[in-house]
Symmetry: C3
Subunit: 384 residues, 3 copies
């Protein structure tokens, strides 16, 4: 018996290690070399300078970098931040990306390109650096802001946005909204009337048409996105301080979920921390709801096992996905995958060791959550 | 030492296995044979058809059925859904109920009869199938809807409801409200005035007097229930999508709890997921508050250990109860009890193994939560 | 390998046992002998008499007292409440305090003196009983109520309060606000205008100037406190039923946190249960936010490991502190420290055993959270 207990979680872990994941929501890796300051500011959600009495390396994410990324760059685990950053600088961004992305075991990337894209690798750059195919997810708000930047009358905004969205998403796999950042998820879920949109567009364009945060326009973008018909990702839960975490509770989306159900469009709730149990409830209750615990897995490091475990409670296994939500340092892409695999191996291996699940069930669920569900939702070819 | 550590959790587990539980909130088992579709729709809270690309068996609850119920029906654990359902069909509903209810180890059932009762075994049917006594819990809203269905003037509603409630509950052990489904727990806690009730009843009866969802009437039912004086159960937390989970947070009941305290009526918060910690706080803060984590235990399957553990944090042990909240398939009654026992054995056994609790303490708390607290609250005879 | 796994958590535990903690938020120990009733009423947050069908010893906190405090008083672990209280009475309050505080391993106490101080040891009494230095934290609301009690015109209130606060805090290390109890954390974060303050003071003083609960005045106190410039503690989350736990969510402080950031004053969120993950997010997002999980650690007893683990997720390690929030029985001071040490040893030792952290990292983080962060924030000399 004790031999079986030892082997069994190992069997699940080996299956997870061999599984090419679909990272259904990541941003590009940075193509630039990073100063210590720049690196530290990219491993926190804070938008303030790092206080002089602390370092962002003293965090679960920082410790995970020193533990798991250091060996990929040829260092001992648990090296110092100084040693790590020195090696990183010596190798250069391109080689660092190649090493960390290559070792992440990703079978397919979906890259969201709507935020600070000029600093980051795009889908083709990610494909090249990682050796895995990479497709695009388009951010609704960015398309609208580009329409405004190009010059647009209020009365023409709705049509111009629709045309731009169709044009911009010809080869895209999905859409994304950051309404949680721009307003909160507590917006009126109904599709706004045409004249409301025109009026709101008038106000926004008159102010310069930059950062779109008007709730009428945000709803209009979402409803136009639902019409476009691609799977629609929602930022939910943890993020930078721009966001009021209270107004980022996925339960606030209930009205929209119900109104959107007839469209058949899959709604994908991203991150969700600390509301992963609420997201799981929505994924059980509504056929059009999916979720992941990306971002939180990286930030919680050694504690990610608990987060992943909580994501495996009430949602059907066909409704849970994997993502890294990595942005910038390729460490985040690498750790998103590595920590998720370790957490899944520990959680599912635990179910097996406790004789609650069979090994076959554990391996199948790992494959569903890690790859198959995303392949089905986004229509990706099997195996890449 | 290692021998003790091995034996000790086993001792707690054996005590739990031998303990006849009081399931203080369950619905009846279904008396019908179930198609695959019908079965799958009864093992989820979703009210939509199961999408063709998934099965509800791919869930913690589904896996728990294949793991723990299959052997009760004479199959190997981890059989396929097809094998399971074929065996279930061959045995027939009556035999399935007899086997699963009989093996659940329940000493006393309290059966809530207010929802789709025509499909389910009533208290006497449950007693017969399980071999354990079964008493009734009466749903307030159903009694009110029956008064309306019988024809009633608005001005007579309050009296007619009171009379019907007293009549209907002559032998009942408790009352139940589903205000969380019908409106949300964020209702005004004060007892409504007589003319408010008459006015609201007028509106409701004019519309046909069917599904009662007016918050004035819901409050009136609750306050009449408090006057009736039987222990009063509240649906709290997880449920079907009819319910806004945000408005089902038990902390919303604070005002009512305080107003109801002088009545001396025990208020029992059912389910509570994912708000079990909030419920535990209320149970510590207010002498009239009790709670359980029923429903969630079944739905979280192999993860129920975590839910049960969180229920054992800040509430006094005299304020925590056991329920299955099973509805329909007797698998849910069986698993409610089995998974709760396993979770308690693991959690309390863990406290013992970590040398934080004695075995005697663990066994006593298991008995309090599993049976004694409910016997005291509902006035059930000791041992059944 | 197995030898290493056994030793390693032990190494972390030994380092924690040897670490003199800074308890950055406690009240005094009671100087009085306590009847059984009085004792039981001090080991719960309930403000109601203990019902005759239960004892507060049947709780995680009660079990922890019998397990861990009994041996300090010379009894066997897991003795009965009667044996425990008899020994306690025989030793007398002074000796009980000396034994329990002396064995808590505290290097420095910060004592909040604003609540029922006449029943409790003050900082000097705590220093004498424990052998550790003890400084004061001053409660804003108490200072304001003392100003009112001394007689004050509405128009003079703001100046009189400021003068009293500066006077009262000449040697204090920090300030504390209980706005969560008096109103809720959902107050307008902006500094109120002078005439608003005068008007609100007029209303309050006209009513007798006792319990201060006007939100304009609470805000005024907080902003005056920010001007005073000492670290400012906020009661957050769990507390007695005076408090609406829903309105005690730390995320409600977002607006104030942002407005207060330019002052450079550290804001310390106390307790936070069950919102510890939300507090962790704020501590990551905002440089001026810190938090602890005091109070909850004692109340959750054998389950405190889970609470401490959740506090170690997304916050940088430089932003997490230790406190007991003990009030009254010295058992609470003792257990606050003991249970936190055991929980940290188990959680950090677990990270090490899983090869996610090095022993050196674990020992360093234990020291940061247990003492160094508080020494930096409050400007305490190293080592006491």
């Amino acid at each position: 018996m004790s031999i079986e207990l030892d082997l069994v979680p190992g069997g699940v872990a080996r299956a997870l290690d061999a599984l090419p994941l679909v990272d259904h929501h990541a941003h590009g890796a940075t193509a630039r070399d990073l100063s210590r300051n720049a690196f530290e500011e990219l491993i926190t959600e804070s938008d303030q300078p790092v206080p002089e009495w602390m370092t962002q390396f003293d965090s679960q994410l920082g410790f995970a970098i020193l533990r798991h990324c250091a060996p990929v760059l040829g260092l001992e685990p648990f090296c110092t931040p100084e040693e790590y950053l020195a090696r990183r600088a010596r190798l250069g961004a391109e080689e660092v990306n190649r090493l960390l992305l290559g070792a992440a075991g990703i079978g397919h990337f979906l890259i969201e390109t709507g935020y600070r894209a000029e600093e980051l690798l795009g889908p083709s750059g990610m494909a090249e650096a990682s050796g895995a195919p990479a497709d695009e997810v388009v951010r609704l708000e960015t398309v609208a802001e580009q329409v405004a930047a190009g010059g647009c009358e209020a009365s023409a905004f709705a049509d111009r946005f629709a045309r731009a969205l169709w044009e911009r998403t010809r080869t895209a796999r999905g859409l994304k909204t950051v309404a949680a950042y721009r307003y909160g998820l507590d917006f009126d879920p109904a599709r706004p009337a045409r004249d409301e949109v025109t009026e709101a567009a008038g106000r926004w364009l008159a102010e310069g048409g930059r950062r779109l945060s008007d709730p009428v326009l945000l709803r209009h973008l979402i409803w136009t996105g639902l019409e476009r018909g691609l799977p629609l990702q929602f930022h939910v839960g943890i993020g930078d301080p721009d966001l009021d975490l209270r107004r980022s509770d996925p339960l606030l989306l209930r009205g929209l979920i119900e109104l959107a159900e007839p469209t058949g469009v899959p709604l994908l709730l991203l991150h969700c921390y600390p509301y992963q149990r609420q997201a799981g409830f929505l994924a059980q209750a509504y056929p059009n709801v999916y979720f992941d615990v990306g971002l939180g897995v990286g930030y919680t490091g050694a504690r990610s096992v608990s987060l992943v475990a909580e994501s495996l409670e009430v949602a059907p296994f066909a409704k849970i996905l994997f993502s890294s939500d990595a942005f910038g340092p390729a460490e985040l892409h690498h750790l998103g995958a590595l920590l998720w695999r370790r957490a899944m191996a520990r959680v599912l291996g635990g179910f097996v060791a406790e004789e609650e699940w069979s090994v076959a069930q554990a391996v199948r669920v790992a494959s569903m959550v890690g790859a198959e569900n995303a392949r089905r939702v986004y229509g990706l070819a099997a195996g890449g």
